[in-house]
Each structure stands twice: as structure tokens, then as C-alpha cells.
């Protein structure tokens, strides 16, 4: 752990891009991941993600405002449609919809304290940290006059499914220097790069940010089947049929044996 941290530290120092060109911040964040990649196998039931890091200082720590850390984890974006049912001639049917060009398939934000206390609305609006703000970033041209009920409904549904979440107090900050956050990724993950962002906050303002990504990929049989279904669709289709035909024949043959 300490070695990994030291590694991450040197790496981050080497790569660190200045956040504010004019006035380099006194505090910088360096961070690492428990694992750079997650493999989705057939037995995949979800995964734990550990994000850890440290605050590097060039000057003594300011005393007036407390330090807070926010960590976000964001899955690959997908196009989606939110539909609303209404009653037409006695039956409930989908009558209106809002299409969203790209919404994150997963979004989780963990923080040392409740976001309302540590993040100013302006900083949230520019960095799009809280769940509703993160979603706003994806809204495209809208087909209905007021899309807000639709996006709110989507938020509720996805929070219920565990795809969008906010965990206040889930970032553990030690001595205002070392921090860690644990995320539990659900089993119904989408393949892609999961973007990780870390924000250092003081007095509601963002002091420094750090970004990295975790690669979530299908592996083994999952990968083989997916690639074949996409790239060799006719072969895959025929194979599915052969599998079905063979299984049907085998069951018939087996039952004949049992009965004789």
C-alpha cells in the first residue's frame, strides 16, 4: 500500500498538469486505484473499487477553512429514452418521451461530508459534481417543453436500481492528507472506461482536481461471445441455431434412453 502510494505520488508529480496557470495551488491531489481494470467474467457479480490518494502541499496548510475531498466514479455514456405513460381512451400507453443523447450508465459520488456543506452551487455547476448536475451535462436538444420531470424520474429509477448514488461521508480523510473511497459496482455493469474524478475542496471552492479511468472489460467467454455477436453476426446466429438444435436432439435422445 505504501509503496503503491509512493509510486502513485511520483507518477502524479511527473504528470501533474497545473490546474490554475496563473496561481499554482498550494495543495495538489495525487491518487491511485486499487486496480486499473476490472474483468467481467461469466461469474461476475459486481466489484469493489478502491480509490486512494494523498494531498501534497508546497506551503503550510491554511487554517481558516477545512479540507474536503469528493470522489466521483462515472460509467460510459449511453443514449436513452425516457417515456411517460398517460391514460388515453381508458388504457395506459406511452404517450410522450424525452431522448437523451448520452447519459452515464453509472454515476456515484462519495464525499467526506454532505455536498451541500462543502461545495458551492457555482463550483458544482462548473464541475458538474453532484448527481443531478452530472446528468445535466448530458442533456441534448429536447422534444418536450419541460424535460425536468423526465430527468427527475430517470434519477429516481436509476437510484432505485443502484446505478446512480451519492455517499456522504464515504470518503475517509486522515490528518487532512491521506484519503480513501470505496465503491461497490453493481453486477449489471456496462463495458467501457469508468472515469474517476477527485476534487479537493476548501471553502466551497475546488482547489485541485485529479482524473483517471478504470477499464471495465469483458474477458474470456464473455469477450468471445460479444465480439462474435458483433463482428461475425451470421456465424454467431447459425451457431446459436446449431446449439438449439443439438440441445433439442440431445434431450429427446436422452429421454428415449431413460424410457427404454
Amino acid at each position: 500500500m505504501i509503496r503503491a502510494l509512493a509510486c502513485a505520488l511520483t507518477l502524479a508529480v511527473a504528470l501533474a498538469a497545473p490546474g490554475h496557470a496563473a496561481d499554482p495551488p498550494n495543495e495538489r491531489v495525487v491518487a491511485g486505484l486499487g486496480a486499473d481494470s476490472i474483468g467481467i467474467t461469466a461469474a461476475f457479480t459486481g466489484s469493489q473499487v478502491l480509490i486512494y490518494g494523498a494531498v501534497k502541499r508546497t506551503a503550510p496548510e491554511p487554517e481558516d477553512t477545512p479540507l474536503d475531498v469528493v470522489v466521483t466514479l462515472e460509467g460510459p455514456a449511453q443514449p436513452l429514452t425516457i417515456r411517460k405513460k398517460s391514460r388515453e381512451m381508458g388504457i395506459w400507453v406511452n404517450t410522450s418521451k424525452v431522448r437523451i443523447a448520452a447519459a452515464p450508465s453509472y454515476y456515484s459520488v462519495a464525499s467526506t461530508r454532505p455536498l451541500k456543506q462543502i461545495l458551492s452551487p457555482e463550483a458544482d455547476a462548473t464541475q458538474r459534481i453532484s448527481v443531478p448536475k452530472a446528468l445535466r451535462a448530458f442533456e441534448g436538444p429536447l422534444e418536450v417543453a419541460d424535460a425536468r420531470p423526465y430527468t427527475e424520474a430517470m434519477l429516481t429509477i436509476r437510484e432505485r436500481e443502484g446505478l446512480y448514488s451519492a455517499h456522504e461521508g464515504a470518503v475517509h480523510l486522515v490528518e487532512d492528507t491521506l484519503f480513501r473511497a470505496d465503491f461497490a459496482l453493481p453486477a449489471n455493469l456496462t463495458e467501457g472506461d469508468y472515469k474517476t474524478r477527485i476534487f479537493l475542496l476548501r471553502g466551497g471552492q475546488v482547489v485541485d482536481t485529479f482524473q483517471t479511468a478504470i477499464a471495465v472489460r469483458r474477458v474470456g467467454l464473455e469477450r468471445l461471445l460479444f465480439v462474435m455477436a458483433q463482428d461475425h453476426a451470421p456465424v454467431y446466429g447459425v451457431l446459436s441455431l446449431i446449439l438449439a438444435g443439438f440441445a433439442g436432439w440431445a434431450a429427446a435422445a436422452a429421454f428415449r434412453l431413460i424410457r427404454n
Partner: protein
């Protein structure tokens, strides 16, 4: 035991899938229906995306139909020439149905059309079958001489050209009515995303006057081709067949189909018809209720570009 499905991108319980496949397999072997009209809604319920559910359901129907038809072949309960004639119509109808489906999708009302088609078709077929088989049962209890089933179909049907002898069914009729029926079922099946067995079985009994014992095997025989065609179309155009999901449904399904065909050999034809009729009515009532009762959540999310 959970398993992650590579195409559906969800993790589900293996035993749930085996059980689901088994139930549908029993229905398939018992009634000669593919079970698409039951498995597809059940897969939605498990959280499988609709496109994947429809395509993979078709694949599982192929397996349970193969398993069922082999058992029926053993009992000489398949009218092969009739099955082939129905398939010719069925494939033409399925191709036409896919085209109609895409036209309706472009108009934006496909969901409602499909739901209403389910309720209306299942409801009316189920009720008609139920009424007819109850009447037949009562007739059997108090047998009257001379009240036998008409041996000859309507006169104009008899006068159509291209007559063929269907020995297993004991029919000598034109191929035109079976081709048209196959086509009609193919169109409806493609629009509703099912093999169409539940429409085909009553059509064979009531329109073609085939004996019930031959109907099941022959229906299974033709369902194989139509659902194989559907599976292939979905695999090629939408990449939505999940082989791993299909595998577990199939393993449950083929065993179920064998049990079902053993059961169907033990039940009387009228009892079989009443059971199928009841099943169809129950599914129709459930789907109808979904349209009438206020849903718990008015909003729903569909992932993907279309919708």
C-alpha cells in the same frame, strides 16, 4: 448462482433461467406452442432488455420445438407435407411481417400495436377455444348418434385448385388455405415477436379441421423454421441474441418439452384444448389488466438509440 450475460449486460440467477426455460418447455411439448408469448414477457420481468428478450426467446423456441417434434415424430404425430406447406407461407409472412413492423416503428406506435394485438388475439382465440372445447366435452358426455363432426370443409375451399393428399391428417385439400394461414401467422408472429404457435394450433384445428393429435407435432415442426428464421434475422441485424442466456433457457426448455410431450400423450384432446385455452385467456387477461390499471411508475427508461 449468478451469471453475467454478455449481450444482455445483466447478471441473473442460473436456476431462475433453468426453471423459466423448463416451464416454457413443458408448455411447448404439451400444446405445440413455442411459448414465445410467455417467455418474452417473463424475460422483460427479469430485467433483460426487450430486444435481447425477443431475439433470445426465439432461439430458445427453436430448441424446445426440436426437442418436442422429435418426441412427436416417434409417435407419428407429425404431418410433414402439411408442415412444409405451412412453412412456405410462414416464411413469406414473416418477411412481410418484419417489413410491417419497421413501418409501424417508423410511425412511432409499435408498442401499443403489439400490446393491443396480444390482448385482442390471445383473448379472442382463448375464449373461442374455451367455449368450443367445453361444448365438445358436454357433447361427449351425452353422445348423440349422427352429431359427428363434419367431414367436409366449406364447399368453396373444396373447389380450390392444387389439391394434395395429407395422409397423416386424413385430408385432401388445396394447398392454398394452409399457405394463407401460414402467411397470416407469419405476419402476426413477426410483429408480435413470437413463433405464432398459439395462433397456428387453433387455426389448424378450426380452419383446416386437422385432428388434434397431429396438430401439435405439425405446429412444432413449422414453428422450428419460422423461429429459426427470426433468430437469424435478429442476430444479423440487431446483434441481440444472447447465447449464454439461450443456453440456460434451452437446457431447462428441452427437458421441459420432453416432460410435456409425455404428458400430452396421457391427456385427452379436449382436456388439452381446455388447458391451452385457459392459459391463453390468463395471459391475455394479465396483459389487458396492465393496459387498464394505473402503472406504479408512469416513467420508464429504455437504453439505446431507438425508442
Amino acid at each position: 448462482m449468478q451469471i453475467y450475460l454478455p449481450i444482455a449486460e445483466v447478471s441473473v440467477n442460473v436456476f431462475l433461467l433453468l426453471g423459466l426455460g423448463g416451464v416454457v418447455g413443458v408448455l411447448s411439448g404439451l400444446f405445440g406452442v413455442g411459448g414465445g408469448f410467455i417467455i418474452t414477457p417473463l424475460l422483460f420481468f427479469l430485467g433483460i432488455p426487450p430486444g435481447v428478450a425477443v431475439a433470445t426467446g426465439a432461439n430458445q423456441v427453436v430448441a424446445s420445438s426440436v426437442s418436442g417434434v422429435l418426441a412427436q415424430f416417434k409417435r407419428r404425430a407429425v404431418d410433414v407435407p402439411m408442415g412444409l406447406v405451412l412453412q412456405v407461407g410462414g416464411l413469406a409472412g414473416a418477411a412481410l411481417g418484419v417489413w410491417i413492423f419497421n413501418r409501424l416503428a417508423a410511425l412511432g406506435q409499435i408498442d401499443l400495436v403489439v400490446q393491443l394485438a396480444y390482448v385482442v388475439l390471445l383473448g379472442s382465440i382463448g375464449l373461442l377455444m374455451l367455449q368450443e372445447s367445453l361444448r365438445a366435452m358436454r357433447r361427449n358426455r351425452s353422445p348423440r348418434p349422427g352429431a359427428r363432426r363434419k367431414q367436409h370443409v366449406h364447399n368453396w375451399i373444396q373447389r380450390l385448385p392444387l389439391k394434395i393428399k395429407f395422409r397423416a391428417s386424413g385430408l385432401y385439400i388445396s394447398v392454398i388455405p394452409p399457405i394463407l394461414i401460414g402467411m397470416g401467422v407469419g405476419i402476426l408472429g413477426a410483429i408480435m415477436g413470437v413463433g405464432g404457435g398459439f395462433i397456428m394450433v387453433p387455426a389448424m384445428i378450426y380452419l383446416l379441421h386437422m385432428p388434434t393429435k397431429v396438430v401439435i407435432g405439425t405446429s412444432l415442426f413449422q414453428v422450428i423454421t419460422v423461429s429459426a428464421f427470426t433468430t437469424l434475422m435478429h442476430a444479423i441485424t440487431n446483434h441481440s441474441v444472447d447465447m449464454l442466456l439461450a443456453l440456460f433457457l434451452i437446457v431447462g426448455g428441452v427437458i421441459g418439452a420432453q416432460l410435456g410431450s409425455v404428458l400430452s400423450g396421457r391427456l385427452k384432446a379436449e382436456q388439452l384444448r381446455i388447458l391451452l385455452a385457459l392459459l391463453v385467456v390468463v395471459v391475455a387477461a394479465k396483459l389487458g389488466a396492465d393496459l387498464l390499471i394505473r402503472p406504479a411508475d408512469l416513467y420508464s427508461i429504455a437504453v439505446g438509440k431507438q425508442g
